[in-house]
């Protein structure tokens, strides 16, 4: 159907004249995307400003006031040893976000580098091609592993600390980026400008760095936000089974875990509030993820712009 394509293409053309205006319009029309950025910003701010905002120390036990329900004094109540849950909830992004972001970035960097190398050499023969094949099979093995058991085992084997959790998260995420990058690079490898640079005498490494990587990064970048959200969940899960950060580090997952026994007997606040904070933050990241996905997808973007125009017209009519 070439003609319709051409027509819509022409429309996209006119849209492109004011890309920023379009983005703003989209943001106005799809407030949930804006909401995503607001949530994540709020979580970051909460973590950053926690020392100023928190009414109590997040790691100070106050046995005199244990398991107090939410009140004016303790907005979200206190836990079993009298720590203020509100203070802990707002301190937690420091750990949770730091771990998730660090773990995700680490996996993205390592995964993309290996993925680029593997993708670059996948079609080749010889030692490098064979090595590339081996790397892919290793990735298969890692992905066939039950993620959770694998992560716990890593933490258990390396010792319990923030760095270990970051490593574990990075490790289980690497295959995702490896595959994304590999398939991208394999496509780009065949493009003319890559051959041109090779012919021009650039080394493999420089070709990858200068011509292949920048053009292949798109999908990996789009994956990042969703992946951060997922990593927060994994961090919390690890803490829940006791393989995450150490107590009493304010961390949502371990807070949920420590309040777990109390829920059954009716003291819901030690678990429910941190879980809510966790869920809202991950929700924010997935909103950002879906907005990135949308902006990166020309077809969907076009459809959305059209919807918006249609609605505007309806309103005008």
């Amino acid at each position: 159907m070439p003609e319709a394509e051409a027509t819509t293409g022409a429309i996209a053309e006119t849209g492109r004249t004011s890309r920023l205006a379009t983005l703003l319009q989209v943001a106005r029309a799809r407030p949930r995307f804006a909401l995503g950025y607001v949530i994540v910003l709020a979580a970051v701010l909460a973590g950053a400003l926690a020392p100023l905002v928190a009414p109590y120390s997040p790691v100070e036990a106050n046995p005199a006031e244990f398991l107090q329900p939410p009140s004016a004094q303790h907005w979200l109540g206190t836990d079993a040893v009298g720590m203020d849950i509100f203070s802990r909830v707002i301190y937690a992004p420091r750990i949770d976000l730091a771990i998730a972001v660090a773990g995700t970035l680490l996996s993205a960097v390592v995964g993309c580098l290996i993925g680029a190398w593997v993708g670059y050499h996948s079609r080749g023969g010889g030692l490098r091609g064979w090595l590339a094949y081996l790397v892919m099979r290793a990735a298969d093995v890692m992905q066939a592993f039950p993620v959770f058991v694998f992560a716990i085992a890593l933490v258990a084997s390396l010792g319990q600390s923030v760095q270990t959790v970051v490593l574990a998260i990075a490790f289980v995420n690497i295959p995702i980026y490896l595959r994304l990058m590999r398939s991208q690079v394999m496509t780009i490898r065949e493009m003319r400008y890559v051959e041109a640079s090779l012919v021009a005498g650039l080394s493999d490494a420089r070709t990858i760095a200068r011509h292949v990587m920048p053009n292949a990064m798109g999908p990996a970048l789009a994956q990042l936000s969703v992946n951060v959200g997922w990593s927060i969940l994994l961090t919390a899960g690890l803490s829940f089974v006791g393989a995450g950060v150490r107590s009493p580090t304010p961390e949502w997952g371990s807070m949920i875990a420590s309040g777990f026994q109390n829920v059954v007997t009716g003291e819901w606040w030690p678990s429910v509030f941190p879980g809510l904070a966790l869920a809202v933050t991950v929700f924010g990241f997935s909103l950002i993820g879906s907005s990135v996905e949308l902006f990166a997808d020309p077809v969907k973007m076009r459809r959305l712009t059209r919807d918006l125009a249609a609605r505007r017209r309806e309103r005008a009519a």
């Binding site: 159907m1 027509t7 022409a10 429309i11 006119t14 918006l308 249609a310 017209r313």
Partner: protein, 343 residues
């Protein structure tokens, strides 16, 4: 376009076959299809379009890529390509105003009374269903015949479109068919309910020349046998010369010239038509120029000008200042030009 011109044309148009009894099979008045844009004004793909087609008639519509042919074809079924929308106009099928029907009535009508033959049929057929099923579904849904009867009818239809070994082909999947074979299936689907009117959109574009000829012949016979009428849309002006009763040429959403076949080919009046024929009949290189994207009609033309002015070798000041109306230059021969070419 001025209102007076529109009525003018329709009267003359209908007059071509003044002897025919009853309403025309298809009558389109002032059909306008717009595409919304995020920024700026909407783009009009089909503008104020008029068309009348009589029973038994095969009407050819020629145009380059981007002229609005497909938009028009789909708009006739009230399904313009997204995000287009019918902004104005009236479509009458055998006297019935389609614009007044609700969506359910429209759905019953499509494929039953008004069907469409699509290009690139291998992508258009559902890959997971056998072609037999896809043909039989049409009669089951539209004519409410029982499955067995539907199968029998489908088999007959496969024979009618001259598919070899039709019993076996009933169970075949689209990916197992050649392009020509798939095109026949799509024709079978379009014709099995004996519709009143058929819109064929570039139906033969992807086929070898020999297959193309066979299919056109087949199509012509089937349409005439069933007393239907057809709008045959194509980029290939040559096909229309053999195949259509009347021919029109379309440019940027408008009819530029419309005439009976002989008039059209022997006495073209519009510079665009002349250019098309020249390009077609001369050499390959010029033919390729046809669908060059640079040649796309610009949406940026001033509203008051002739849409063709930018490419017209004969353009004069008036062409830039005044949008020409479609005028009847001879009996049944219309052209939209201030300075038509002398025959």
């Amino acid at each position: 376009m001025l209102n007076s011109a529109a009525t003018d044309v329709s009267a003359a148009n209908g007059g071509t076959e003044a002897t025919a009894a009853g309403p025309p099979m298809l009558a389109v008045r002032g059909l306008t299809v717009e595409f919304a844009a995020m920024a700026g004004a909407a783009v009009t793909a089909v503008r104020d379009f008029d068309l009348t087609i009589q029973p038994g008639e095969i009407f050819g519509l020629v145009g380059e890529s981007g002229a609005g042919k497909t938009t028009l074809a789909r708009a006739l079924l009230r399904l313009p390509p997204e995000p287009g929308r019918i902004a104005a106009g009236e479509i009458r099928l055998a006297g019935r105003n389609l614009m007044e029907l609700n969506e359910t009535e429209m759905q019953r009508l499509r494929g039953r009374d008004l069907s469409m033959i699509v290009p690139n049929p291998r992508a258009e057929l559902n890959p997971l269903l056998t072609v037999g099923e896809q043909i039989a579904t049409m009669t089951r849904v539209h004519l409410r015949v029982p499955s067995r009867e539907a199968r029998r009818m489908a088999l007959d239809m496969l024979r009618a479109v001259q598919i070899p070994d039709p019993e076996r082909r009933m169970g075949a999947f689209p990916h197992e068919m050649s392009g020509g074979m798939a095109q026949r299936i799509v024709i079978a689907i379009a014709l099995i309910c004996s519709p009143k009117f058929i819109v064929s959109d570039d139906a033969t574009s992807g086929l070898d020349v020999t297959v193309q000829a066979q299919i056109l012949e087949l199509l012509r016979r089937l349409v005439l046998d069933r007393g239907s009428a057809m709008l045959f849309i194509t980029r290939d002006i040559g096909i229309t010369a053999h195949f259509c009763d009347r021919v029109a040429v379309m440019y940027d959403g408008e009819v530029m010239e419309l005439a009976a076949r002989e008039d059209f080919f022997f006495r073209p009046r519009h510079p665009y038509t002349v250019m098309l024929m020249a390009a077609f009949s001369h050499n390959q290189r010029l033919r390729r120029m046809w669908s060059r994207p640079e040649a796309l009609p610009g949406a940026a033309e001033p509203a008051g000008a002739c849409r063709y002015v930018a490419r017209c070798p004969l353009a004069q000041d008036r062409c830039r200042a005044e949008h020409p109306a479609l005028r009847e230059l001879a009996l049944g021969h219309f052209a939209r030009c201030h300075f038509p070419v002398r025959p």
